[in-house]
């Protein structure tokens, strides 16, 4: 019992300490040495708060009001701040979700790691430096001497996360808490980081409390899993049992809404009318510069693709691959350097803003972040009818159309005079779609439209899009980094890397049997690809 690493029992956390606004309601969790416990739940489930409570880093407005968090026999909630400080990084340490902002931008990276030793050990300066370099070696960082002296902004996201891990594990703590460490990373980097965590866990025998919302990641790294919903534990099981025999409906729904990697069966080609066609589209930044040649960046190079009416073309790629740049060029939010963009047969690549206006009707866009895609200060209805009013539609006619559209996307017509802050993320994305449809465009561009949503909500929005496509014969250009989502919704797929098209063809062929090595690596790196979550069994055992 006493060598149990972490024992959380009946933990309750509330806003400003009052009873009736609890965000964590009676949570129990136990972690043995060397064991990896995955804490799974959608946003708002209180998973991160539990971790922060353990580390004693809860924001001032939140405070634990009941229960205990026992680390190696010592209750964290009653420990003095000074005691907590000595335990942090020695007994337990934590890594966070946003590697890009987690390091002090004005201090050298090596020195930020060394700081841990400076305060928690009495090693000499040279001895500390040697330990740090040794640790950087252990996390497989390249060229550690140079990296030791460089600044955070000179490192990639993955490298920074490795530095965070080195920092966390250098004092060989018994418990490592990882709060969605790979969510912000690209698929390939995510795979390497998960592998690194597993490797270090074996080596140092650290217990890991891994927090995530991605079932794929759970299947890759977890020993046991605890499912959380709105602050309450749904169930706790070994990972295998959970995936095969989920006990609660909530877990079952969660598993069913995970988009599987296997592309859905190809749909027949209804018409051959091309609604969107680009030819050798290029976009370069930089160049010019008054006295010295600024570094030229080729964001997109010779991208040629075409989209048929009523079908969905997906653009897949990691961050920096240029998929967003292509989308924004097509929308003429940024001006392409060269190449043509034909919408409904007319080339809009080089039109002046004035001539462009009539064409804008035919192509609309839905953005990624639901929180910022609607003007917070005007009613939702006003946002929807802004487009039609620009094209001379009388106000009352536009307003009735707006009410119809809201119902169409599954929201009450009366929502038309509410303000955006009264809606959830999923609801706002539906309103954004309604706004796009108000212009009844030929093409709808969805730029990572579902990436910011919880898995369950994601599934509903994808279904909505498919249904609207069928009803209005919409051509959809779907930009995403999530292969599962692409597999579920796209008829054809374009894979992009460093601004160039790597592979282009029907989804079944590109995602099912990829030709190019990069695509293969991309698919291989996706976590949980060998699990058929919806049917609670690995593909290998498929009948």
């Amino acid at each position: 019992m006493s060598d149990r690493v972490l024992d959380i029992s009946n933990l309750r956390i509330a806003l400003n300490g009052n009873e009736d606004s609890q965000v964590v309601k009676g949570l129990n969790l136990k972690i043995e040495p060397g064991q990896t416990m995955c804490l799974v739940g959608e946003s708002g489930s209180g998973k991160s708060l539990t971790a922060l409570a353990t580390m004693g880093l809860l924001p001032k407005v939140l405070s634990p009001i009941a229960g205990s968090i026992v680390l190696k026999g010592e209750d964290m909630l009653t420990a003095t701040p000074a005691r907590m400080r000595t335990l942090r990084a020695t007994a337990m340490s934590m890594i966070f979700q946003e590697p890009m902002t987690a390091l002090n931008p004005v201090a050298r990276v090596g020195q930020q790691i060394e700081e841990v030793l400076e305060f928690h050990s009495d090693l000499s300066q040279s001895e500390r430096r040697r330990r740090v370099l040794e640790m950087m070696e252990a996390v497989h960082l390249p060229d550690i001497e140079k990296l030791y002296k460089s600044y955070p902004h000179q490192l990639s996201g993955g490298q920074r996360q490795r530095i965070m891990i080195a920092m966390a594990l250098i004092m060989r703590p018994q418990l490592l808490i990882a709060d969605e460490p790979t969510t912000a990373l690209d698929v390939t980097t995510q795979a390497q980081i998960l592998k690194l965590i597993r490797e270090l866990r074996e080596e140092q025998g650290t217990a890991v409390l891994f927090i995530t919302h991605d079932m794929g990641v759970v299947s890759e790294i977890a020993d046991d899993v605890t499912v959380l919903k709105l602050g309450e534990v749904m169930e706790t099981q070994s990972v295998d049992n959970l995936l095969r025999h989920p006990q609660t409906d909530y877990t079952r729904d969660l598993l069913r809404s995970v988009p599987s990697q296997v592309p859905r069966p190809a749909r027949s080609v209804a018409t051959d009318e091309i609604v969107l066609d680009t030819d050798k589209l290029c976009k370069t930044y930089g160049g010019g510069g008054l006295f010295f040649r600024a570094r030229e960046v080729m964001a997109a190079q010779d991208v040629s693709l075409s989209l048929l009416k009523g079908r969905t073309l997906g653009i897949v790629g990691e961050s920096g691959s240029g998929k967003s740049t292509v989308a924004r060029c097509i929308m003429r939010l940024i001006d392409p350097t060269s190449g043509s963009i034909k919408v409904g047969g007319k080339d809009i690549a080089t039109l002046s803003q004035k001539d462009l206006k009539p064409q804008r009707k035919n192509i609309q866009i839905v953005f990624q972040d639901p929180m910022r895609s609607l003007n917070p200060r005007i009613e939702v209805g006003e946002s929807i009818i802004e487009g039609p009013l620009n094209f001379g539609v009388p106000r009352n006619k536009a307003m009735t159309r707006a009410r119809e559209l809201l119902e169409l996307v599954g929201l009450p017509a009366s929502a038309v005079d509410r303000f955006p802050h009264q809606f959830s993320g999923g609801q706002r994305q539906r309103i954004a779609i309604a706004r796009a449809l108000a212009m009844d465009p030929d093409v709808l561009v969805a730029d990572e439209a579902v990436s910011a949503l919880d898995v369950s909500v994601q599934a509903q929005v994808l279904d909505l899009l498919a249904e609207l496509q069928a009803r209005f014969g919409l051509g959809i250009l779907f930009i995403t980094h999530d292969l599962g989502v692409a597999a579920q919704i796209c008829d054809d797929v374009v894979v992009m890397q460093y601004g160039r098209v790597v592979e282009y063809g029907p989804a079944g062929q590109v995602l099912g049997a990829p030709q190019q090595d990069y695509t293969k690596a991309l698919i291989a790196a996706a976590p949980g690809r060998h699990w058929d979550f919806a049917n609670f069994r690995p593909f290998a055992e498929a009948p």
Binding site: L49, K361, S383, N390
Partner: protein, 296 residues
Amino acid sequence: MTGQTTTVAPRETISPFAKVRDIVLSSPIVMVATALLAIIVLAAIFAPWIVPHDPVRLTPSVRLKPPNEEYWLGTDAFGRDLFSRIITGGRISLVIGVGAAIAAVAAGLLLGLLAGYIRWMDALLMRMVDGLMAIPNVLLAIAIVSLWGASLWTVLFAITIPEVPRVVRLVRSVVLSAREEPYVEAAIAAGSSTWLIMRRHLVPNTVAPLIIQGTYICASAILTEAILSFLGAGINPETPSWGNIMAEGRIYFQINPGIVLWPGLVVSVAILSINLLGDAVRDALDPRMAQRGIDR
């Protein structure tokens, strides 16, 4: 339709009065500040009717009297009642404060919008703004006032000019960050005209910071007017303002310090209240401060 029709909270808008009430009641200090400011403003507005003596009438025979029952705060060098002059002086000083704030905010908003939203205007406007900011504002104000005469308008103009660049910079930075917002790009995609985008999507973002900056400009304008009068380049002394009462009274500091200290006190209280209100508004309207708590 797929997905359950979710229920939506009833329409709930916060009326501006409620917002103002919250700001004012946010802390005791702000309450006191607002009360004091209200007294000063009301006194200034109703000055002509509540003033015990004619603030402009000279009665040299009773000059430099200490406070007594007839002249509550004593008299100045020309035998004019100090109390009435301070109240009437409030009108000019507050007009200058509020006027400068509104003028600077309006000009700054227009130029800031242009600089922030229209690329080629940006470089040109910003160089002019840097130029104006480089010129020391007190010296500029003195030059303008003493060269073009000390009427209320030249003083107001002289005090507003140096404040405009700061407002332009503020608006420009807000506009530059706002235009990156997805809802602005969606409006562009929907074919909205530049003017509509500015009016509906960009300007509302500048309202909160402009209110805050407005309060600080108002406070500094009243101070600058006092400094200008002190240097002999302020409003012409016939119409009293806090500044020129103090300026005229400074020679008699040793004989009747009240002439400088009483208006000085009133000026300080007024500016203190305006600044505190500015801080309170900033804390209330600044989104970052509000949702710091539980966004995880």
